[in-house]
C-alpha cells in the first residue's frame, strides 16, 4: 500500500520534471557564465584548469563553505561518537608480515601521490579535495594493515585547524592588502601551465589538501575507534 502511494507521488513529481526538463535540452545548455570562465579564466586567474579556477577563485566562497561542511561533519562526528566512549580494549590481531610491510611501503607513496594531486590542482584534473581524499586513504591503509597504530589526534587537529586558518588568512589578506576583496587573487599570476602560477590557488589547494586529508583521517579514526 505504502509503495503504491509512494509510486503515485513519485510519478506526479516525475511528470513535473519531464515538463521542465524539456526546456533544458541535453548537451546544448546555455553556458553564459561558464563560457565567460572558459574565455577569460586564464587571464583572470592564471589557472589552466578552469574548474579549479571556478572552485577556488570565482566561487572560492563556496569552497570555504565546503571545507567548513567537512569540518562540521568531522567535529560533529567526533561529538556524536565521543559522548559514549566505552573503552573496551580488545585483543588486536596483528596483520601478517606481508600486509604489514606492504602497507608501510605504500603509505609514503600514497601520501606523495595525494600531495601531487593537490599541488597540481590548478594544472591537471584533481585538487585539494581529491588529493586530501587520497591522503586519507593512506591512513585507511595503515589502519587496515598496521592494526593498533593510530594517528596522533592532536596532530591531525592541529593540521586541520591550520589548514582552515591558512585559507581564511589568505582570504583576509586579499581583503586587507590585495585587491581589496575577500579571497581575491592578489599574488602574481605567473605563466600559464607552470607549477608556480595562478597566484593563491596552489596555496589554497595545499591548505585544503592538508585539511581534508587530516579531517577524513580523523573521521576514519573516530569510526574505527568506536567500532572497536
Amino acid at each position: 500500500m505504502r509503495s503504491i502511494i509512494s509510486i503515485f507521488l513519485l510519478v506526479v513529481i516525475a511528470w513535473g520534471m519531464i515538463t521542465v526538463l524539456q526546456e533544458i535540452p541535453f548537451g546544448s545548455s546555455e553556458t553564459r557564465v561558464g563560457q565567460r570562465y572558459i574565455d577569460q579564466g586564464r587571464e583572470e586567474t592564471g589557472a589552466a584548469n578552469i574548474v579549479t579556477s571556478v572552485v577556488l577563485n570565482y566561487r572560492g566562497f563556496d569552497t570555504l563553505g565546503e571545507i567548513t561542511v567537512l569540518f562540521v561533519a568531522a567535529i560533529g562526528l567526533g561529538a556524536v561518537l565521543s559522548t559514549n566512549r566505552k573503552k573496551k580494549k580488545r585483543e588486536i590481531e596483528s596483520a601478517s608480515l606481508v600486509l604489514y610491510t606492504g602497507c608501510r611501503f605504500l603509505f609514503p607513496l600514497i601520501l606523495l601521490f595525494g600531495a601531487y594531486i593537490f599541488i597540481h590542482g590548478h594544472l591537471t584534473p584533481g585538487g585539494g579535495f581529491q588529493g586530501g581524499a587520497i591522503v586519507a586513504s593512506a591512513f585507511v591503509l595503515v589502519y587496515l594493515g598496521c592494526r593498533g597504530r593510530r594517528i596522533s589526534e592532536t596532530g591531525s587537529k592541529a593540521v586541520e585547524s591550520l589548514g582552515g586558518l591558512i585559507f581564511i588568512g589568505i582570504g583576509l589578506a586579499g581583503l586587507a592588502v590585495g585587491g581589496r576583496y575577500f579571497l581575491s587573487n592578489f599574488l602574481p599570476k605567473g605563466e600559464l601551465n607552470t607549477l608556480f602560477s595562478a597566484g593563491v590557488i596552489p596555496i589554497l589547494y595545499i591548505a585544503i589538501g592538508f585539511k581534508v586529508g587530516s579531517e577524513l583521517a580523523g573521521v576514519i579514526d573516530h569510526l574505527i575507534e568506536d567500532s572497536e
Binding site: 505504502r2 509503495s3 509512494s6 509510486i7 507521488l9 513519485l10 513529481i13 516525475a14 520534471m17 519531464i18 526538463l21 524539456q22 533544458i24 535540452p25 541535453f26 548537451g27 546544448s28 545548455s29 553556458t31 557564465v33 561558464g34 563560457q35 570562465y37 572558459i38 574565455d39 579564466g41 586564464r42 589552466a48 584548469n49 578552469i50 574548474v51 579556477s53 571556478v54 572552485v55 566561487r59 563556496d62 569552497t63 563553505g65 565546503e66 571545507i67 561542511v69 567537512l70 562540521v72 561533519a73 560533529g76 562526528l77 556524536v80 561518537l81 559522548t83 559514549n84 594544472l123 591537471t124 584534473p125 579535495f129 600559464l192 601551465n193 573521521v219 569510526l223 568506536d226 567500532s227
Partner: protein
C-alpha cells in the same frame, strides 16, 4: 504528451533519465524502507543522482574537459565548468552528511538495539 514525445524524450535525455532514475530510486527507498541503514543508502543514491544530474546539465555535446593543458586548446567546445565545480562541492557535502548519518546510526543502535525505524518512535506527538 503522446508516446512519440516520450520516445523522443527518452532518446535525447538518456542522462537525465539516468540521473532522475537514481533520484527516484533513492526517494522510493527512503519512502518505503524501514531499516535506517537502507534509508541512509537511499539518501546516498539520491545524492548521487542529484550530482549526476548536475553534471549532465553542464554537458555540451562533444565537449572536452575545461582544462587548457596546452596552449593550443580552444575554449569553444569545452563543457561548462560551473556544474563540475558545484558537483565537487555537492559531493563533499554528501560525504559529510553520510558520515554523520552513519555515526548517528551507530549511536542509535547502541541505544535501541535495533535499526528498524518503526520501533524507534520514542519521540512522537
Amino acid at each position: 504528451m503522446d508516446i512519440q514525445g516520450v520516445i523522443h524524450f527518452m532518446q535525447n535525455y538518456t542522462y537525465y533519465i539516468g540521473a532522475f532514475g537514481l533520484i527516484f530510486i533513492g526517494l522510493f527507498i527512503m519512502l518505503v524502507k524501514r531499516n535506517l541503514i537502507k534509508v541512509i543508502l537511499g539518501l546516498s543514491i539520491l545524492e548521487t543522482g542529484v550530482n549526476l544530474f548536475l553534471v549532465s546539465v553542464g554537458y555540451i555535446s562533444k565537449g572536452t574537459a575545461p582544462i587548457f593543458s596546452n596552449a593550443s586548446i580552444e575554449g569553444k567546445s569545452m563543457v561548462d565548468p560551473v556544474p563540475q565545480a558545484l558537483v565537487l562541492t555537492a559531493i563533499v557535502i554528501g560525504v559529510a552528511v553520510l558520515a554523520l548519518a552513519l555515526s548517528l546510526a551507530v549511536r542509535l543502535y547502541q541505544h535501541y538495539g535495533t535499526l528498524d525505524l518503526r520501533q524507534i518512535r520514542e519521540q512522537r506527538w
